[in-house]
């Protein structure tokens, strides 16, 4: 798999087209905003989305873990869409999540969607510090470098008269926002007020995710 090299806080990170981020020196894989069980949650409201998102997301994780064999997997929030989602995992986890938790440390940072839910074998945290980096769902006031999720950033590209939107990795000097690793999750424009309030508008490094490649703007 091709990756895009990203330097953030003087460390080398690899951004993959499957929307995961790899921290090479510490052999740590980082993902965010999976929203597992979103389809079930909508079904409660009689909007019957295809019930395959959980299976697909889990498979995506397993494929990454098989390939990279990281020591740690950090999920920076919204692993689950809501309390119902654990059911969804039980139903469709045919390759057994617990098998992977043996070899990889799952570090689950709680997001706004899953803050009150527990899963066996998962350590959970409101945020998690490694050296000068803080892993948190939504950025907080701190002097540390922060790696977070929550916003599902996408970038609007206008080029030669055409407009496209692409899911993106994005960071400024101190804050890094991951794209959503989910299947049925939408995105939020990097220029929106919500993201600008966090990252500002200037000196952004934006990495749109293509079919098999992460680009750099």
């Amino acid at each position: 798999m091709y990756y895009q090299l990203i330097n953030f806080g003087n460390e080398e990170f690899h951004a993959y087209p499957n929307k995961s981020l790899y921290w090479k020196r510490l052999n740590t894989l980082i993902i965010s905003d999976l929203h597992i069980g979103k389809s079930i949650s909508y079904a409660k409201n009689k909007q019957f989305l295809p019930p395959y998102d959980t299976k697909e997301i889990l498979n995506k994780i397993f494929v990454s873990l098989d390939k990279i064999k990281p020591s740690n997997l950090i999920i920076v929030g919204d692993f689950l869409h809501d309390a119902f989602s654990t059911l969804s995992i039980k139903d469709q986890d045919n390759r057994n999540l617990s098998q992977y938790t043996k070899n990889t440390d799952f570090i689950w940072i709680k997001g706004n969607h899953d803050k009150n839910i527990q899963i066996e074998g998962f350590k959970n945290f409101t945020n998690y510090k490694i050296e000068k980096f803080l892993f948190t769902h939504i950025p907080i006031e701190t002097s540390l470098f922060q790696i977070c999720g929550h916003y599902h950033p996408k970038v609007k590209i206008v080029h030669r008269g055409k407009t496209i939107f692409k899911t993106s990795f994005v960071h400024n000097e101190k804050i890094f926002i991951l794209p959503s690793f989910g299947i049925l999750t939408g995105g939020l424009d990097i220029n929106s007020k919500e993201i600008s309030d966090v990252l500002g508008k200037k000196n952004l490094n934006i990495y749109p995710v293509g079919q098999d490649k992460v680009y750099k703007l």
């Binding site: 697909e56 055409k162 407009t163 299947i183």
Partner: protein
């Protein structure tokens, strides 16, 4: 007119009123009256001005008077437009009030107040005038059966606009429902003249079907605008003839200028104002304008307060504007029926001809305009193809049925297959649609606990809605018309109208564009509002609207081909056209009526292949893509293609020597699925399907996204479904829609079936005169969405890299 002494209408309650007005009954009115009275379902074909509306009401009024103070709903009148429904009420009011008849009548549309609707349900009028959507809603109420059980007549106005789309499917299902409620119901259809009258009859009539037809012997007078300037090679804006168009407006009391797109309307309007020295009152009218602005224009039009209105198809149907003297059609007519409909907007007096002037905007359009005039003289109309009904509409209908109360699926199925579009609906597909409404209909049974409708334990054939609140969701999502995401345009606090989101996304702050006849400057976009200010700039982008591009009709295409081949006519054309065709004949060839000309020539470093199919834009677009695939297989290294109504041009690095081997039916069978997949056609239709079948909810005004993450998009659903459950009924439904609508599948199939024996291949040393117009259209990319996205990213990255290198060298 000579009135037959045995005319039964002389005893009709309206006869007194007719006499007072010094009007006499038309023969088709007498005929219709007789047929309906003896129990027939009837379709009446008559031109505008021949008392069509009255024809529909003759029997109901007669019946109501005889029944004396009939209580409850007696007659339902279905109109395609809300505005038309209001107009019908005004027309009905005159005789009923003047004769003091005891008949009550009301209108019910989306604009009717909830209070009035409630009252109508409690105390229905004798005659209710409504739209297909409002009828569907009425049928979803629990008391629908009581409401309709005495219904005697249903009148479908402008039935020719209802025959080939999803709205027609919805209407057909609801008519069958009414028939179930009231088995004695009789159907009356009112239509403009059609070629395939039998099809309209099959669609509507069940009981002793009858056709009544009245042909107007006075033909319209249609001419092509004579211009001193040259008709351009290509383009669609008619700038060359603006002064002559202006002169034509001055000559007539009231003119409507019809154009083909909203962009053309804005452009034409602006250009007329620039030369409006006589200060004529000119207005613009199209579907994106704010309702109040549109109503104002319509009002001024009917009162004769304007000199000219530039309009799109938004003014094709609807109210009679008696004072319109002349129609100017700018751009290709595209079809005979459409042109006649437009021409018919002028002069509603049956005995004097309508007057129209055609303004071709390029050379092919000149031939097309000529051909259209010829066909109208011969009264050779376009056929309207009846198509199999769409699945998503059935799904919506199932939901509606459940809202009205528990139902038996066998009964429902039997009722549905009585509707003409669903004669061939398979029981298995129907059951899958039941499942779709129940819980999404997935193979994976995850949603058992969340069902929307469920089977009764004691009788598995009976289904019931789980909760009454679901009816609210149905009512929010009723209907088959799905608009593109639109944004409101605000000038200060005033709303000017709606514009496609896609268009606004391409603008930067300060960019100007024309809308509602003004040059506007884009300032900002917030919460689905586009803030603009008046611009002093004269340079502007034109709103480019995605919709509204109609393909050339097969009938007119054939006529264009025949006319091209008639070289003895050429000398009658303007010199430049004659010259153009003669040079084509010398350098290459003018194809005969049944021949398919293919030209190949080198140009710049590439090889060009032009295929003249005259198959219409949709079919050519598809064929272009298929050829691109074929060229790839033969390793010709194709670079792209462009299609218009008449031809396709492909350019490749290598010469496509085996074009005759590639161009046949096999090409279609081999690559069609691929085509549907790679261009986002099916994906786009899937969105409509998901909304119409109520799988996902409509984005209604006021509940749009407010800057937060989009909840989910139909594209994501499509991708997940495609991967995991490719046989899902909604995917099947989207493919079906794609084949029948978007790509003119059957039309292309017909051409490819016979093309290989009819290809005339011309190898040329350079571009031919006939190829010039389409070559000029090359500059739009025609890659698939997926490819385009990657291409844009790649290109942008390269540009930035280049820039970075340059900077570091400096």
């Amino acid at each position: 007119m000579n009135i037959n002494k045995s005319n039964p209408l002389l005893l009709h309650p309206l006869n007194k009123w007719m006499k007072k007005k010094k009007w006499s009954w038309f023969p088709h009115q007498i005929e219709t009256f007789r047929h309906v009275r003896t129990g027939s379902d009837v379709v009446v074909f008559a031109p505008t001005g021949a008392g069509k509306t009255l024809t529909g009401f003759i029997n109901p009024i007669d019946d109501l008077i005889k029944l004396k103070k009939f209580k409850g709903l007696h007659t339902l009148y279905i109109s395609p437009l809300k505005s038309l429904a209001n107009d019908i009420v005004r027309n009905l009011e005159k005789p009923i009030k003047e004769l003091d008849l005891h008949i009550s009548f009301q209108v019910r549309t989306g604009d009717t107040t909830p209070y009035k609707k409630q009252k109508q349900k409690q105390k229905p009028p004798n005659i209710l005038i409504t739209t297909p959507e409002s009828l569907a809603l009425l049928n979803s109420y629990e008391n629908a059966k009581e409401f309709f059980h005495n219904l005697k007549y249903i009148i479908i106005d402008e039935i020719h606009t209802f025959l080939d789309n999803k709205r027609a499917d919805l209407l057909s299902l609801n008519i069958e429902r009414l028939q179930t409620f009231s088995p004695n119901l009789q159907r009356i259809g009112l239509s403009a003249t059609l070629k395939n009258k039998q099809d309209a009859k099959k669609w509507l009539c069940r009981k002793k079907p009858k056709i009544v037809s009245y042909e107007n012997s006075v033909l319209p007078k249609i001419n092509i605008l004579e211009s001193k300037k040259r008709i351009p090679w290509s383009g669609h804006m008619a700038t060359y003839s603006i002064n002559e168009i202006y002169k034509e407006i001055m000559k007539s009391k009231l003119t409507i200028i019809f154009v083909n797109t909203r962009a053309q309307a804005e452009y034409m309007f602006k250009n007329l104002w620039l030369i409006n020295k006589k200060k004529l009152k000119i207005a613009v009218h199209h579907g994106s304008l704010e309702k109040n602005l549109r109503l104002k224009v319509e009002n001024n039009l009917s009162k004769g307060l304007v000199d000219c209105v530039v309009a799109t198809s938004s003014l094709e149907l609807g109210l009679d504007y008696g004072d319109v003297e002349k129609i100017i059609q700018v751009g290709a007519p595209k079809g005979i029926n459409r042109l006649l409909q437009r021409v018919g907007r002028s002069n509603h007096n049956l005995n004097t001809p309508s007057k129209a002037i055609l303004v071709p905007t390029n050379r092919f359009e000149f031939i097309e305009a000529k051909a259209a005039i010829e066909e109208i003289k011969k009264n050779n109309l376009d056929k309207i193809d009846l198509k199999e009904g769409s699945f998503d509409v059935v799904a919506q209908h199932i939901f509606a049925t459940a809202c009205a109360g528990q139902f038996d699926i066998d009964d429902l199925y039997k009722e549905i297959i009585k509707a003409y579009p669903y004669k061939k609906l398979k029981l298995n597909d129907f059951k899958q649609l039941i499942n779709l409404i129940q819980d999404g209909g997935y193979v994976l049974k995850n949603y058992d606990q969340f069902k929307r409708i469920f089977q009764l334990r004691e009788n598995k054939n009976i289904y019931k809605l789980v909760h009454k609140r679901e009816t609210q969701k149905y009512r929010m999502n009723v209907g088959t018309i799905i608009e593109n995401p639109m944004l409101k345009i605000k000038l200060g606090t005033k709303t000017l109208g709606n514009i496609e989101e896609v268009f606004i996304q391409n603008l930067s702050q300060g960019d100007s564009f024309i809308f509602a006849g003004q040059v506007l400057e884009f300032q900002s976009m917030k919460n689905n509002l586009v803030q603009v200010k008046r611009s002093k700039s004269l340079i502007s982008k034109i709103p480019s609207y995605s919709g509204g591009r109609m393909p050339l009709s097969t009938n007119l295409a054939n006529s264009v081909r025949a006319l091209l081949a008639k070289s003895n006519m050429w000398d009658l054309y303007p010199e430049q056209i004659t010259e153009w065709l003669k040079r084509q004949k010398n350098i290459s060839k003018i194809p005969k009526k049944d021949e398919y000309l293919v030209e190949q020539f080198p140009r710049k470093k590439n090889f060009y292949t032009v295929v003249y199919t005259f198959a219409g834009w949709h079919a050519n677009q598809t064929l272009g893509f298929l050829l691109l695939r074929g060229f790839k297989e033969f390793n010709y290294k194709p670079l792209g293609f462009v299609a218009n109504d008449y031809a396709i041009v492909l350019w490749s690095l290598k010469e496509a020597k085996e074009i005759k081997t590639i161009l046949n039916l096999g090409l279609l069978d081999k690559h069609l699925d691929n085509y549907l997949e790679e261009t986002s056609i099916v994906k786009r239709l899937f969105r409509d399907n998901a909304i119409i079948s109520c799988l996902i909810e409509r984005r209604l005004p006021g509940m749009e996204k407010t800057g937060k993450q989009v909840l989910f998009s139909s594209d994501l659903i499509y991708t997940v479904l495609k991967k995991n459950e490719p046989d899902h009924i909604l995917l099947k439904s989207s493919y079906k829609d794609a084949k029948k609508n978007m790509i003119d599948y059957e039309r292309l199939r017909e051409i490819l079936k016979k093309i290989d024996k009819k290809i005339i291949l011309k190898k040329l040393t350079s571009i031919s005169p006939l190829a010039v117009p389409i070559i000029l259209e090359i500059n739009r990319e025609n890659l698939s969405k997926k490819e385009t996205d990657e291409y844009i990213l790649e290109d942008l990255e390269n540009e930035i890299l280049k820039e970075a290198n340059v900077l570091s060298i400096n």
